[in-house]
């Protein structure tokens, strides 16, 4: 039984905890509080300023090429809009991290569904093709 309950949602939103129920390690907290690396980047594993700068550059390139920021850099409001667009039901109590996870899962789900649909279409095409070939073969036999 958990004897102590703290406001993890608030701590995560403030960048004072890594995730709900997960405090920062000493190294991570040092990166946030002393090196002033944004919590979003520390959550992605950037513990040094060099790693932060490098990841930041990669994100800028990603944004240039796709016109979109990586999910972990979106604000809570932006994530809520994205979640709504994807049909994910949520309340204001959902933290950024939770929304990000749900959106990632939904995107993966949609990608899987698209891939499955494409596969079914491809199989149908193959079946159709082989049916046509059978017909042609049949024609060939009867003729």
């Amino acid at each position: 039984m958990n004897m102590i309950t703290i406001d993890w949602g608030r701590l995560v939103n403030d960048g004072r905890a890594k995730a709900v129920g997960v405090p920062w390690s000493d190294e991570e907290w040092d990166a946030v509080i002393n090196k002033h690396i944004p919590a979003e980047y520390v959550r992605e594993g950037c513990l040094t300023l060099a790693a932060y700068e490098e990841t930041k550059k990669e994100n800028e390139q990603y944004e240039k090429s796709t016109g979109d920021k990586p999910l972990y850099l979106l604000s809570k409001g932006e994530l809520q809009i994205r979640a709504k667009e994807l049909g994910i039901a949520h309340t204001d109590a959902a933290t950024k991290e939770v929304l990000k996870d749900l959106i990632e899962k939904e995107i993966r789900k949609q990608e899987r569904a698209t891939a499955k649909a494409a596969k079914i279409d491809a199989l149908k095409d193959i079946e159709k093709l082989s049916e046509d070939e059978d017909v042609e073969d049949g024609v060939a036999i009867t003729s």
């Binding site: 039984m1 004897m3 703290i6 406001d7 608030r10 403030d14 004072r16 946030v32």
Partner: protein, 327 residues
């Protein structure tokens, strides 16, 4: 002479007396009960909300309204009661052969175990002070984060308001290293830092560290550092300014070895005795009590129980500083 069912009320009275005298002795010995803010509660949960930055007192024109105190809400923490207990049986053989000493010993040892575990659970709050989770003396997993999501001791605690702009450390320092071994220099430096403590709004709120808590291993050193007339361990004949500033040294045997068996004898702590209860907290919904069985039978065990409800942990961390003694 065998103890019969008609002797049950007298035996219960005797065991109650043993329980009470043992409990009294254990509470008097408990260091945890001295430094924790121990409170009674009727609630299953207790919400703690540190408030910071009171800046209400102003000069007021006579007859004008007094300004209302406005405070900034810090982080919240909720403590939920846990239940503990055990029982001992006065068997038929014990009664038949009048093994009164054994019965007495059972009552005493069960009582000692209850109060020792309470004290150990409190000591573990300090000795696991750099961890965010640990297994307690009862075998349960304890979340050991304070309201700001950090362990008891951290170099960068936050207040819960104004983002991350204002922080404070409660890890002992000797001016060069964090977590130094117990030394005069470390006591002096940590006290100086604590006296310059500012709250979330930047107001001076000095923390006066006047109590040293040590394991028996460090008791002698602590007493020499604090109580010597001159500077201890040096050829310097200056008077010892620490003498009189540290009000008490508490030697806590449970700090020697943590409940998981780790040697923590080098750990030492500095507290502000007037405010430590804001940091170290224990809430008893029911203090340990001895209860007699409701029904007794001639041929069955008479089962006496000792049980209690309490929760413990820490809130706003500023009033206790700690060191692992190994930097």
């Amino acid at each position: 002479m065998p103890i019969s069912t008609t002797d049950f009320p007298a035996l219960t009275d005797d065991l109650q007396t043993i329980f009470n005298s043992t409990a009294k002795m254990k509470i008097a010995d408990s260091v945890g009960m001295k430094i924790f803010g121990v409170r009674e509660t009727n609630r299953r949960t207790h919400d703690h909300l540190p408030l910071h930055g009171a800046d209400a007192i102003r000069e007021v024109t006579p007859g004008a309204d007094l300004p209302t105190v406005t405070l900034d809400q810090g982080d919240t923490i909720t403590y939920t009661q846990r239940y503990f207990g055990g029982k001992f049986a006065v068997t038929k053989a014990m009664r038949k052969f009048d093994l009164y000493e054994q019965i007495e010993s059972l009552a005493r040892n069960t009582t000692v175990d209850a109060f020792d575990k309470v004290d150990y659970s409190m000591a573990d709050v300090l000795t696991f002070g750099t961890s965010t989770s640990y297994t307690d003396i009862y075998g349960g997993t304890v979340t050991a984060t304070g309201p700001d999501g950090l362990a008891l001791f951290n170099a960068s605690h936050t207040f819960g308001i104004a983002g991350l702009t204002r922080t404070y450390s409660n890890i002992t320092t000797d001016g060069t290293n964090s977590n130094p071994a117990l030394s005069r220099q470390a006591v002096v430096r940590t006290r100086a830092r604590a006296m310059a403590f500012r709250d979330a709004a930047g107001n001076f709120r000095p923390v006066r560290l006047d109590t040293i808590v040590v394991a028996p291993t460090n008791e002698d050193l602590a007493e020499r550092i604090v109580f010597s007339n001159q500077m201890s361990g040096t050829g310097n004949n200056d008077t010892n300014p620490l003498k009189g500033k540290i009000k008490q040294i508490l030697t806590w045997e449970r700090i020697d070895t943590r409940s998981d068996g780790t040697d923590t004898s080098a750990y030492w702590f500095l507290c502000d005795s007037s405010q430590a209860s804001e940091t170290l907290k224990a809430f008893f919904a029911e203090r340990p009590t001895l209860d007699a069985p409701e029904q007794v039978y001639k041929n069955k065990n008479w089962e006496y129980t000792v049980d209690y409800f309490y929760s413990w942990g820490f809130g706003f961390q500023a009033f206790v500083n700690g060191s692992t003694g190994v930097n």
